[in-house]
């Protein structure tokens, strides 16, 4: 139901935006209006909006996402190529950001009130507040131009990849993944660290922590064995909540690093008014977010025995 509502809203909004896929072809004075009219008619854009919507909805009911004007391919095909790349980027960033965020929070809580705690809080806040596209551009310039140790963009080396061994291809792909994944990881880990620190501080005054201390456990053992597990519950909720933000972040980061995922396709499609690709991308994105929330609920139930059986 949510996906259907999202599809309708996106369809209407993108069609209300000024311009159409063929009005942007204006840098050639020889492109006549009749050519644009022919193209609009070929793609059914000359029909009234309700009729366009009904046609689209009918196709959607048959499992078709439409035809991408800018790729000249079915949207399904474009998404089938792009989705694995986005999932790879998001998956690496999700695991990386939670690992890094939890680690930072543990360090902060272990040294709470110290300079390290304050410094890490400041750094977390800095990245938490930073626009993702800006950090992406900075990272791009820093590690591809000022200190050129990573490739600029794309998922693989366009020249050499085909000629590499299996291991070489994996290494090449990892090198291309590094910067976009690092950027997304840093941004998401700032949120995780702040939440995890707060959650750990919440459980530390609990009776069972005091008991553990009285038993003579070290602070590190208390944090790892007792505090962390109980403080993970809000973090599991955060997985569900962070999924939309991660997806949105991935969209902009993919665009800047030319990472050929869904975001790269959809953000470009907005600029070119490739309606079916935008709507298709948003539908798949909303399905991913819904699945992410479901996954978070399942993890929550697994981590908290009190919820099992409900």
């Amino acid at each position: 139901m949510i996906v259907a509502i999202v599809a309708v809203i996106t369809f209407v909004l993108i069609h209300l935006a000024p311009g159409d896929p063929f009005s942007a072809v204006l840098d050639n004075p020889n492109v006549s209006e009749s050519v644009r009219a022919t193209l609009r008619a070929q793609y059914g854009l000359d029909r009234p909006l309700p009729e366009q919507f009904l046609r689209y909805a009918g196709a959607l009911a048959r499992g078709e996402l439409g035809w991408s004007f800018s790729y000249e391919r079915p949207v399904r095909e474009v998404m089938a190529t792009a989705l694995p790349n986005t999932l790879l980027l998001m998956g690496v960033a999700l695991v990386g950001s939670f690992a890094l965020g939890i680690l930072v929070a543990l360090i902060q809580v272990a040294r709470r009130g110290s300079f390290t705690d304050h410094a890490l809080s400041g750094i977390s806040l800095f990245f938490f507040s930073m626009p993702d596209f800006w950090l992406a551009i900075l990272t791009l310039l820093a590690f591809t131009y000022w200190l050129p140790i990573f490739p600029v963009g794309g998922a693989v080396d366009p020249v050499m990849h085909e000629y590499l061994s299996w291991a070489g291809r994996v290494a090449d792909r990892l090198r291309h993944l590094a910067l976009p994944a690092l950027t997304l990881t840093i941004l998401a880990s700032a949120t995780v660290a702040r939440f995890q620190r707060a959650a750990l501080l919440d459980v530390l005054p609990a009776d069972y922590i005091r008991t553990a201390r009285l038993k003579g456990l070290t602070e590190r053992q208390i944090l790892r064995r007792h505090a962390l597990r109980n403080a993970l519950l809000p973090i599991i909720s955060l997985i569900g909540l962070s999924f939309p933000a991660l997806l949105t972040g991935a969209f902009f980061i993919e665009k800047i690093f030319a990472w050929p995922g869904m975001g790269f396709a959809v953000v470009s499609a907005i600029g070119t008014r490739d309606y079916p690709l935008v709507v298709g991308g948003v539908i798949i994105g909303s399905i991913m977010v819904a699945l992410g929330s479901l996954l978070a609920d399942l993890l929550y139930a697994w981590a908290d025995p009190r919820l099992r059986g409900h």
Partner: protein, 573 residues
């Protein structure tokens, strides 16, 4: 550092034992990587709409003859043979017989025949294809094929540009590939994704939004191109595209911005080469009311007001601020590179004192807030610009400041490009900054400033400027066979439009190409810098790892395109 990176990859290749069997020797060999900011979309000559697509298409396909570096469009002077090794004019000049080079072959081995030429013309003119070239070859009536090696073009009327129309606008496509596919389905066809041409480079692969790779056609009838392969790496973001060049991942970037030049200068392996481009920019007045197009614009319907604003504009300062020495103030709707353009065309001078006098005389009196007003209405309007263009944003700010000094208030409206295009098309703007990338024919001015383009429901004359004297002089110029007379007619047309001031002609910028210094470039032609890529080369002792990579086999799908064409033709958007 880039070399270190690539040497790592080279090691991987060597470790594999997949040593190159590249036919690299002497002046041949090497790889050219071009960084571009857009995907081709389609690789079909008749459907080319962007520069990036044209670059790729012109390497894959060939024309009957090439215009040559002089960009002469009168008769066939300066044109060089391509698919046609010679041509003969009929006595009445209403037909031209092109004799095809018998060695010419499509990349799948099929000979190029006159039927291919006839098919190219008829399909381009087919309205269901929606080709931008259809309107510019309107003077071609038909093509007959007396034999397989001769294609005769028949024209509706004798015209100085008829040879240009028959050759420049029409890269020839193979009939055996495209005939089974209805023109309305070409755009979506598999054949368009695995093109087969007769040009110097064969198609190898195309990963959408990522890469297009071509390999030298070593058996080409015109001889082997020097570089083994040409690769376009595609970014959708200008910054990413230019960083690819600056970091050494790409060898060539077609149009650097002035702010990129200091960075390029820091790299000993990078160099720049300015070249003329067929581009001029302008600030266009809307002469009709944005709401009710039947009425003149409340401000810009007045020729005197437009002239006053032109006089208040210090174009030389604007151009110097934006481009330093890499542009000249535009002369009008034309370019200095055209042989028909008089570089000394009289201009409306920069004269702010006179501008103030004219505004006073029109009743626009300076108010207490330093903004002129008339009948209680301020002299204020909106200047619409694409927010993504840094140059146009800066142009707008400079114009705003210069006009403020004569009591005119301007609100700058930044729009994303499709939104601005919509506003242009619907003519709902007051004033807009624009730029035309035009053609070797100066007649293209009619398409953007002529009466027909004004009156068509949404033609490209967005400001609705109409002056029959301008149209008549351009028409006379286009039909004149005498170069001096032709130039005189064009000069009259340009003087007319310059004095009418439907726009303020801002800049005629040079394009600045950035390239890796190991590349030995040939001339960068104003209309299409890439046309001489087959003559570019890399000295053997300067090659880097990617120059020695083995050349990939042409895309296997390409060889089976003919068999899949029929099937692809069934596919529809």
């Amino acid at each position: 550092m880039a070399a270190v990176r690539y040497s790592g990859l080279l090691c991987a290749i060597l470790a594999l034992g997949c040593g190159s069997e590249s036919s690299s020797s002497g002046n041949t060999g090497g790889t050219l990587v071009i960084s571009v900011g857009g995907d081709p979309g389609v690789l079909i000559p008749a459907l080319v709409q962007t520069v990036q697509t044209a670059e790729m298409v012109d390497m894959i396909y060939d024309r009957l003859a090439d215009i040559g570096d002089g960009l002469n469009i009168l008769n066939d002077k300066g044109f060089t043979p391509r698919l046609a090794d010679r041509w003969t004019w009929s006595a009445d000049s209403l037909s031209i017989a092109f004799h095809l080079n018998p060695k010419a072959r499509w990349h799948d081995g099929v000979p190029v025949r006159s039927n291919d030429v006839r098919f190219t013309v008829s399909s381009t003119k087919d309205s269901t294809l929606g080709s931008p070239a259809a309107s510019v070859i309107a003077n071609i009536d038909s093509v007959s094929t007396p034999d397989s090696a001769t294609a005769v073009f028949w024209f509706h009327a004798r015209n100085p540009q008829q040879f240009f129309d028959a050759t420049y606008q029409l890269p020839i496509v193979p009939e055996h590939i495209w005939k089974p596919i209805p023109p309305s389905a070409w755009r979506a066809s598999e054949a368009g994704r695995h093109p087969i041409g007769s040009g110097p480079y064969r198609f190898v692969r195309w990963v959408p939004r990522a890469v297009v790779e071509l390999a030298a056609d070593t058996d080409n009838y015109r001889g082997r191109p020097k570089l083994n392969r040409v690769i376009w790496t595609i970014s959708s973001d200008f910054q990413t595209a230019v960083t690819r060049f600056l970091s050494g991942e790409a060898d060539f970037f077609e149009q650097l911005r002035p702010e990129n030049l200091p960075e390029v200068a820091k790299h000993p392996t990078l160099a720049t080469k300015p070249y003329h481009a067929l581009t001029y920019s302008f600030a266009q007045f809307n002469l009709r009311d944005p709401v009710n197009h039947d009425r003149p614009h409340r401000l810009f319907g007045s020729r005197e007001l437009r002239r006053a604003l032109t006089m208040a504009t210090d174009r030389a300062t604007i151009v110097r601020s934006l481009y330093d020495t890499l542009a000249l103030p535009a002369l009008g709707p034309t370019l200095r590179v055209y042989p028909t353009t008089d570089p000394n065309l009289p201009q409306i001078p920069f004269d702010p004192v006179r501008a103030r006098q004219i505004l006073d005389s029109l009743g626009w009196r300076m108010g207490a807030d330093s903004v002129r007003a008339k009948n209680g209405r301020p002299l204020r309007f909106t200047l619409s610009i694409p927010g993504t263009s840094d140059v146009r944003v800066r142009t707008a700010v400079l114009l705003q400041e210069q006009w403020r000094q004569v009591g005119v208030k301007v609100d700058i409206e930044k729009l994303e490009f499709p939104a601005l295009a919509e506003k242009d098309r619907k003519r709902t703007f007051d004033m807009a900054l624009g730029q035309w990338n035009t053609q070797p024919s100066p007649g293209a001015a009619l398409g953007s400033w002529g009466i027909q383009a004004s009156r068509a429901s949404s033609g490209n004359n967005f400001g609705s400027y109409e002056n029959p004297a301008f149209d008549a002089n351009v028409d006379s110029a286009l039909t004149s066979f005498n170069p001096a007379q032709r130039k005189a007619y064009f000069s009259k047309a340009y003087e007319t439009i310059i004095q009418d001031a439907p726009a303020i002609w801002i800049a005629e910028p040079l394009a600045i190409a950035g390239y890796h210094s190991r590349l030995q470039l040939a001339t960068l032609r104003p209309d299409s810098w890439w046309m001489h890529i087959p003559d570019w080369w890399i000295p053997a002792d300067k090659r880097i790892a990617r120059d020695n990579a083995p050349v990939a086999a042409p895309d296997s799908a390409a060889s089976s395109t003919a068999s899949t064409a029929q099937q692809a033709g069934q596919k529809s958007p």
